[in-house]
Symmetry: C2
């Protein structure tokens, strides 16, 4: 076993790795370097904090540096790793407060640097303050509360952009959501995404699609003033950029770790960097094997980061645990709808050259006579011929979206839609009609598969 | 193909069979006999109608006799089948309104007589009016609304007893729930059932377990007065019997159809009565193959009745569709909790001689900081050694129970808990912590399986 483990990055993947290594080997020295001042926070919760669904930002922190230290993990916050020497088994570190620098020896290394925002390449975007960390979220919320300004523009209509737009509506702002794409939520097929757009518009968000951002204009003294788009200028007291992130791979690339086609750090199913003994990567900076697409992808989600980090930590300490891959499952709550997806959507299947048959149904989340029933739409994507379920998308009112996990297990285990339609799923009037929507859509999809020959 | 199909029983299974046969063969003559005056109603919805969650009893009807007639199905309500002559291919029928009798020829037959209530074998129980049909529910609700009486006793603490007890609380009655068993909801393990009991008590239901009903006493002019139990006499203006049902097999047995060990009509996976050409059975009166217990069982649920009826109807008309069996999935909403199960519970596994390892967790339905988060308990039952998931039980607040379908697919497809813990299930703060409760309990169960060797 190693004597000294260094973890680069103190968020979900890194600290999951550190905690698992601690459990796996009580003797191991574990040092975790984190550039920021906090560890293990829920970035996913930030829109709800901004929207005022809760007030105490500390609730976003799952474990503080001190809690990790009490568990025997030497967490060094405000400390940046500036280089990795794989040959010499050292990392160069800089104390961001004191400015001091030094080298730290490692026997094993977990690279868990996460992702960095990709601001749009237009003038002024670089002056927009990010809202990705707890500190940034607190500052942003304070600015919202202090200013009487009421116009906000959110750039990017993925789930984070939509969640932030909704949060700003909750705070009483006029919100415009701008995206150069033709639809919101690029992970959904267009007709499902249109329902989400409709829900966003239903709470007053103005959605401008096929609209390119050209410039963010700021007041001379700082603070946004407007955004210039291909469709004109929009008043913007606040601008939120939600144009995506990319894996933070600079350090890895400079050190000679291999990057995969997705641009993230290449790993095997033990989270090992191939060919380099004792070096692991996990989380948003690393690739994951996509079990349906049969290729490595880079999906930034806390759920993968936690699992991959834990697996790296187990394997660092002599365990042998494999990360089995991902299937692109995601869920979000957007205004009145819950939205979820798993596997591949129809467009992704086409792009991957997979011949698929799809069906979509509209149903109700409860028996028609049971109070609170509302719409649910489900789309299934099945392999032509075999009928094997390759993906699903769900949009609907409360109670709709967690059904995606049923489809996720079915995709994962290779169930055919013609079998799924007769599975013993639960039924009671508060939860569905006598045929659960998933059974109904499976039946429709199986029929479509048969008819397609 | 057959020239004339007779269906005995006009509820879920029978009318699903008739409708599927109609789709399968537009030329077939289809006659459905129903003793009552209605077809295809939702018995599952009756407690919610009684409780006043909705007022129009017609909403319980999915399709009326006239609607079936318009679809070309000759529905004869208020008509009882009194005998089946398998040799002569006729059924004897009696018109319940006119009293006339006659024989009707069939080429193929679907036996879908459903289930009948089993009143407790104590004096006075036979005078309690049942609340199983729409008409009975309307009369019962009218009695509740007309009388100022405020004491109700429900006998039987299965899900129907609990749902009825809750409905009566919603109407402002004092409710005592009596069961001779040691726990409510016999389909759950005792510790999970205790949480449901706690929820029932939380809305004011007095739960008397290990308490035998000895007599139901009525006023001289009719109407309940009290129930006598092993623990004393209880004032009871209204008595609801929810002591279970048994398959309605008298006709089948008299005709020589084979009954299985469960007491229900034996069928193969095409819903055919073995050895008798062109005779099918489906729904509450028929057996189902339990895929985990590996034996035939009799489970009365609308979801099975609909599927089995449809399969019978498909096969009647030259199709070849198999019912793949059941795994004991069920869900219910009981007071503040949702309750669900699938596969086998620990006690059932022990009774069946299956060596299992279990784990139970308490978790939250949402991220801790997200409003509306509440408790969820999940228990998994895994095969010792292999770790294959054999069953699950869930109790928790809104959003908890439909997760049972995730476990149902995992049980159905033979997933091991050690694999399940790394499945790509969805995560967002409105729906769970970063590890979904199902992943957490799968991990705990996998650990327990390993530790058990």
């Amino acid at each position: 076993m190693a004597d000294r483990l260094i973890v680069i990055g103190g968020d979900a993947a890194g600290m999951s790795a550190a905690a698992a290594a601690r459990r796996g080997d009580p003797e191991l020295e574990i040092v975790a370097f984190e550039r920021g001042s906090r560890t293990s926070y829920s970035a996913c919760g930030i829109p709800y904090f901004v929207g005022g669904l809760f007030d105490d930002a500390d609730r976003l922190i799952s474990r503080t540096p001190d809690e990790f230290r009490q568990a025997g993990i030497d967490v060094r916050t405000r400390t940046e790793v500036t280089a990795i020497d794989l040959e010499g088994r050292t990392v160069a570190v800089r104390d961001l407060d004191r400015g001091s620098e030094g080298d730290e020896h490692f026997d094993q290394l977990v690279y868990a640097t996460g992702a960095v925002a990709v601001p749009p390449p237009v003038p002024g975007a670089e002056h927009c303050e990010p809202v990705r960390t707890v500190d940034e979220a607190q500052r942003f919320r304070a600015r919202l509360e202090a200013s009487g300004a009421c116009h906000a523009v959110v750039i990017g209509s993925g789930y984070i952009g939509l969640e932030m737009a909704e949060a700003l509506v909750l705070r009483g702002l006029d919100v415009v959501l701008v995206d150069q794409a033709e639809q919101v939520m690029g992970g959904l097929d267009a007709e499902m995404a249109a329902r989400v757009q409709h829900a966003a518009e239903g709470v007053g968000i103005r959605v401008l699609l096929s609209t390119a951002l050209e410039e963010v204009r700021h007041h001379a003294g700082g603070g946004a003033r407007s955004v210039l788009t291909s469709e004109g200028e929009l008043h913007a007291d606040h601008v939120v950029l939600a144009t995506g992130v990319r894996p933070a791979t600079e350090l890895a690339a400079a050190a000679g770790l291999r990057l995969g086609e997705s641009g993230a750090v290449s790993v095997d199913d033990r989270q090992r960097c191939p060919g380099i003994n004792g070096v692991f990567a996990a989380g948003d900076c690393a690739e994951s094997w996509h079990r349906v697409l049969r290729r490595s992808v880079n999906i930034q989600l806390g759920t993968h980061a936690n699992k991959q980090g834990r697996i790296a930590g187990v394997n660092v300490t002599g365990g042998d645990l494999a990360f089995p891959g991902v299937i692109g499952t995601a869920v979000s709550k957007i205004c009145r709808y819950e939205v979820a997806r798993t596997g591949v959507c129809e467009r992704e299947a086409h792009e991957a050259g997979i011949d698929v048959v799809c069906a979509t149904i509209e149903d109700r989340t409860r028996a028609g006579y049971y109070p609170g029933s509302g719409p649910i739409w489900v789309k299934l994507v099945a392999e032509a011929g075999s009928g094997r379920l390759l993906g699903g998308q769900i949009v609907g009112v409360e109670g709709a979206a967690k059904r995606i996990d049923v489809l996720a297990v079915a995709v994962w285990t290779g169930v055919a839609v013609g079998d799924l339609e007769l599975f013993d799923l639960s039924y009671a009037p508060p939860f569905s009609g006598v045929y659960d929507p998933l059974l109904t859509v499976a039946r429709q999809t199986a029929k479509a598969v048969r008819e397609a020959g």
